[in-house]
């Protein structure tokens, strides 16, 4: 791995990941990348501070454009900037990027395969108190249905930094989804493999598998540890940071080895990670017990995020309950894996 420069003035390692939000790290990494790449420009819609793209903007005021509260224009302008040869990073809240300006993202950016990098913050229910108008539990479904789009949900700040860096190598649009504030990190330092399109094995396991992304990664890792300690269960955890293109190999290996799969996402269970995983399993012809955790096709409640995560069974105890439930489910395991379609 290439040596990382400091993004904080101190170090970019354990200390940063434990004290900075994903969007703070995003702003710093973008600022750093922009030093070496004059093609990087920033665009936002009155959310320079809230999305932290302003960290880049302060350092490069001539390359930062705040179009005001006008998201359709934001993504149209981003497309035009890309057409002029630049690499725009466009940041707003996920709900506005994916719905207010969905057609601009689809027709102006994805259809023309432009290198616009959308860093959408306040995704999922991370802006808990703000309520449904500011929550976003549909963006993964929308974004993964746009051809040419790469969709990434980093587990934490450290992984956000890696994703922001790696997205420059993608010849086309990328959607990176992060939360609002300080979500406790899974990665304790920068020393981990990150490849777009390759899931990360977080915990080995043979009884069941949790496939998750974003805030679910840390919670699932802790749940796996708890289940081992309390129930003697061996629960595999996969950090599926790239929702599209999805890592089929790691999913099918989990199906083969554990035959019980739980997906967990901070999103409606329709159209997001769970359905992406379900498609891979269905197309493979393999059978398994399967549960999708997330919002069960409903609008989210108001509350502090941690209360909401608990309510929607996205926290450790909810995950533990779900694993116990799926372990108790009758499932006829077919040992003759090789004979299947």
């Amino acid at each position: 791995m290439a040596e990382k420069k400091s993004v904080t003035g101190t170090t970019w390692n354990c200390y940063d990941a434990n004290t900075m939000s994903a969007k703070e790290i995003y702003g710093r990494v973008l600022r750093q990348l922009a030093e070496d790449n004059p093609k990087i420009v920033g665009v936002t819609a009155d959310l320079e501070k809230s999305t932290n793209i302003g960290i880049f903007g302060k350092a490069f005021p001539d390359r930062m454009f705040n179009v005001g509260i006008a998201e359709q224009n934001l993504f149209g302008v981003a497309a035009g900037l890309a057409k002029s040869g630049l690499i725009p990073f466009a940041s707003t809240f996920a709900v506005f990027a994916s719905m207010r300006a969905a057609e601009q993202v689809r027709s102006d950016i994805c259809y023309q395969k432009l290198p616009v990098k959308i860093i959408a913050t306040h995704a999922g229910i991370s802006f808990g108190q703000a309520g449904t108008t500011h929550h976003c539990t549909e963006d993964l479904a929308i974004m993964r249905s746009f051809a040419n789009m790469t969709v990434i949900v980093p587990a934490d700040g450290a992984e956000t930094g890696r994703a922001v860096e790696a997205c420059l190598d993608i010849d086309g649009p990328v959607y990176i989804r992060v939360g609002r504030g300080f979500e406790p990190p899974y990665h304790k330092d920068q020393d981990f493999e990150f490849t777009i399109g390759k899931g990360e094995l977080v915990r080995e396991g043979s009884d069941a598998t949790i496939i998750t992304c974003g805030i679910g990664v840390l919670q699932s890792a802790v749940a796996s540890d708890e289940l081992k300690r309390m129930d003697g269960l061996s629960v595999r955890v996969i950090n599926m940071h790239t929702i599209k293109p999805i890592d089929k190999e790691i999913i099918l290996d989990a199906v083969k080895s554990t035959r019980r799969i739980i997906t967990l996402e901070e999103h409606n269970v329709i159209g997001g990670l769970g359905d992406a995983v379900a498609s891979v399993i269905a197309e493979s012809g393999k059978g398994c017990a399967f549960t999708k955790l997330g919002l069960q096709d409903e609008y989210s409640l108001v509350g502090y995020p941690e209360d909401l995560y608990s309510h929607y069974k996205m926290d450790t105890s909810g995950i533990v309950d779900s694993v116990r439930e799926i372990m108790g489910r009758e499932f006829e395991a077919d040992e003759d894996w090789a004979d299947e379609v």
């Binding site: 420009v41 005001g68 224009n73 993504f75 035009g80 725009p88 057609e103 601009q104 102006d108």
Partner: protein, 275 residues
């Protein structure tokens, strides 16, 4: 800017009108009305004003053109053929299976096309981005966006108008093909745009009104002024005739979109020859 006479431009516009009729036939049907109203503006741009080179379609310093009224592709793509970006023969497969040319232009398939358009209200924001990109990179190219008037119902245009003035994009020229008709009828009956020029003025744009946007001298005079203007973006509101040049199409809302039979083709060609 190319040194070409108004008479030559008028002759080119006739060629384009003929090609619009032919292409509409090859395509099976098309938005002939709005393509014919734009024909003189397209010819003036591509044969006099735009600094583009068919031999270098991706040249990074070229002037940019966005057909925001993407449904006029049946006029725009033939114009690119006349200019030499694409082979005229290819137009015979317009709208056909796997053709690069369809009802709305695709920038990844149409050589010389700078933006995929079709959904209205998308061209001006993209044009703002292109013009801003020129400023950031200290490039001298201009960006021209051709809008329909009905299209100006779309709110995204006003977001873009606001930002173009905010960034003082004097390298951006919008042209509104004010043919006064949209699908469901006259613009002023469906959703009134007037006072239209005042809207652009209020948004800080330099407004040039052309009382006959199908008159080549007047179109060129407006573009001359727009090309030189400094300090703010310019809009040319060109009053045109929908279906211009074809007697039975002029100002007829039904010719927003349609197909031509052989006698209509004959009449159209005769009208164009006599215009």
């Amino acid at each position: 800017m190319t040194n070409i006479s108004v008479a030559e431009l008028k002759e080119k516009a006739k060629q384009l009108r003929n090609l619009i009729i032919d292409t509409t036939v090859w395509a099976g049907s098309g938005h002939a009305g709005g393509a014919l109203s734009s024909a003189d503006i397209l010819i003036a741009l591509y044969f006099k004003y735009l600094n583009v080179d068919p031999k270098k379609p991706c040249w990074e310093d070229r002037d940019r053109f966005v057909l925001s009224k993407g449904h006029a592709a049946v006029g725009y793509i033939p114009c690119l053929a006349l200019k030499g970006f694409i082979d005229k023969e290819g137009l015979k497969r317009f709208n056909h299976f796997k053709s690069p040319y369809g009802m709305h232009p695709d920038s990844l398939k149409v050589t010389g096309c700078d933006a995929s358009t079709g959904s209205l209200g998308h061209g001006l924001p993209m044009g703002v981005g292109m013009a801003l990109g020129a400023k950031v990179q200290k490039k001298a190219y201009k960006t021209v966006v051709l809008l329909g008037d009905g299209e100006c119902n779309e709110g995204s245009n006003y977001e873009a108008m606001m930002s173009a003035n905010h960034y003082k994009l004097d390298n951006l020229i919008a042209i509104v093909d004010r043919n006064k008709f949209m699908i469901d009828g006259p613009t002023e009956e469906v959703m009134s745009l007037e006072p239209f020029a005042a809207k652009w003025t209020a948004f800080g744009w330099n407004v040039i009104e052309v009382d006959d946007g199908n008159n080549m001298e007047k179109v060129c005079a407006a573009l001359d002024t727009a090309w030189e203007h400094k300090g703010s973006p310019t809009v040319i509101i060109a009053s045109t005739v929908k279906g211009k040049g074809v007697s039975f199409m002029e100002n007829q809302v039904v010719w927003h979109y349609g197909a031509l039979d052989s006698s209509q083709v004959e009449q159209a060609k005769a009208d164009i020859a006599n215009s």
